[in-house]
Point group: C2
Chain length 323, copies 2
């Protein structure tokens, strides 16, 4: 049976040596070189628990990659390039070598995909697979959640509803057209945080948030922290969402607003900057979608649809949502 | 039933505001001000899982404090003052407000005790209480595990055997004299990492390690990473250990060498520096114990007792030791 040392060896064995300015993995602490002059340290931790975060059909490799992706997505929304990450792993006694190697592959894939170095970690015996990723980077400043002002555009870095649809397919057996199904399931198992886009867009965003708790919560959070209202003009439905919704008797609006796990950037851009922001996104192969405008607070609820209906502050909330 | 937002509010509500140079808790990432010129970032994560790390009699408040203490102890052994920490919390659906407030109290106590700021975290639904602490500090350099040379003293920052005894009392009902029992149980539930001592001793230590996996493993790790052997002259038994061992038919040697969770600093000091190091420790109210010497590798096993018997590379190993 593998013990702690075997597990660490299996994982670190998949990774090359760290550069000289780092401390090799295997001391009491990890050490990464300082940022540039005056840069603050940016930190994020995000815990993935198999029981609630890993649907059927998702491998340990995918789960490990996703745990890292969850942190990368927060860095993307803040316009900060992550430098390094650590992982605290909990797993059951008797976990096989094959499973640990799957985990290692997922971590390695994430490390390469987003250029972020594994610098340390911890392993513990637990009743369930737990992957807690903590990530570090450097920045002079970040795009906060509280910078929106009335009269700006509300934007998203991509469409919504795909991950909710993917979860319905994986968990509830919802039916879908094959290519929609493939994309939707992939968005759950292989999320694609928009790091490059987030870094490029940060100069245009007056506020932003990682949308992993869902579009509605993300909008409400910016609204509350910035002290603005929002009037949405066009919900960013992913292509095929309405057909999928009608086929399975779901509401496309519910799927897009209240699902979660999309890992898109939701933010606000001054009207005078919107063309430049859209062009920048477009030059990177992405479409920056304008979904509404910020308004003075206090009119008909903080976040409302074009027809005046309120958007609920609801979405993927741990301990509230169905795991 | 409490949801994620309620839990975060209950915990952060116990803490005061962070200084201006930090980002208030509640954005996608945490942000801490840069270290001094040329200082690297020091990082550590350590996961506490109730099932294996929380014995009967240990409250959630104690568990939360201990999760932070585990990281502080690593910083102490490296001679680095920690600045900030994040916590990823996993807990069962339906966890009561009282339990969450206990957790918050433990985190607050730790924050005050070691002067380390809570800057962020994450909460997830899990089958068991999981507290993953990730800690950050700054240092130009650290005391590594590989710096010992032959002909130095092997030292510890305190006695060993107390935590093993405490665990035997809590888990197996071992009998003990009342004051020994009290101290032993306290060492399990309220560990005291030697941060001040570690910071003061770092200039004297040629190598060091946090002893939380046990004395024997700690010695073997320094031995392997430094390429030296060790000959132990006097095991650092805690007062009363031999009486406790004989009363319960344990071996004091086994308890002191192979127990784990002591959170002491184990290291090596050049002979010419030992008096200064001992005086420094003494001035802070601690006794730096010389327990042996480093020798050329290859003589009768890496780590051996005075009578030539080998010290096994064994101790608290996750997935191997009894939880």
């Amino acid at each position: 049976m593998l013990d702690e040392y075997d597990i660490i060896k299996l994982i670190t064995g998949r990774f090359g040596k760290l550069p000289e300015s780092y401390l090799p993995i295997g001391d009491d602490v990890a050490l990464i070189p300082p940022g540039r002059d005056g840069e603050s340290v940016v930190l994020k931790c995000d815990m993935l628990v198999a029981k609630t975060d890993v649907p059927p059909g998702m491998s340990w490799k995918m789960a490990a990659r996703k745990a890292v992706a969850m942190c990368v997505s927060d860095f993307a929304a803040k316009g900060v390039r992550p430098t390094a990450f650590m992982v605290s792993l909990g797993m059951q006694r008797g976990t096989s070598e094959a499973k640990v190697l799957e985990l290692a592959s997922g971590l390695l894939e994430a490390s390469r995909e987003w250029g972020v170095k594994l610098v340390g970690g911890d392993t513990s015996e637990a009743g369930d697979l737990i992957i807690d990723c903590s990530m570090t980077g450097f920045a002079k400043k970040i795009v906060g959640r509280g910078g929106a002002r009335p009269g700006e555009y509300v934007v998203t870095s991509g469409p919504f509803g795909q991950t909710s649809a993917g979860l319905k397919i994986l968990m509830d057996g919802a039916k879908a057209e094959p290519s929609f199904r493939k994309e939707a399931v992939s968005s759950v198992c292989m999320p694609k945080p928009k790091l490059g886009l987030g870094l490029a867009l940060s100069r245009y965003l007056s506020s932003s948030i990682d949308s992993s708790d869902g579009l509605a919560i993300s909008l409400h959070t910016i609204s509350e922290m910035s002290g603005v209202g929002m009037r949405l003009t066009k919900l960013p439905f992913v292509k095929g969402l309405e057909e999928f919704a009608s086929r399975n008797s779901y509401s496309a609006e519910e799927l897009a607003l209240y699902g979660g796990e999309e890992y898109e950037i939701v933010g606000t851009v001054k009207k005078s900057r919107i063309q430049a922001a859209k062009s920048k996104a477009s030059s990177l192969g992405f479409e920056l979608r304008v979904i509404g405008e910020t308004v003075l607070p206090g009119n008909s609820g903080a976040v409302a649809l074009a027809d005046g209906r309120k958007v609920r502050k609801d979405g993927w909330v741990h301990f509230r949502s169905k795991g």
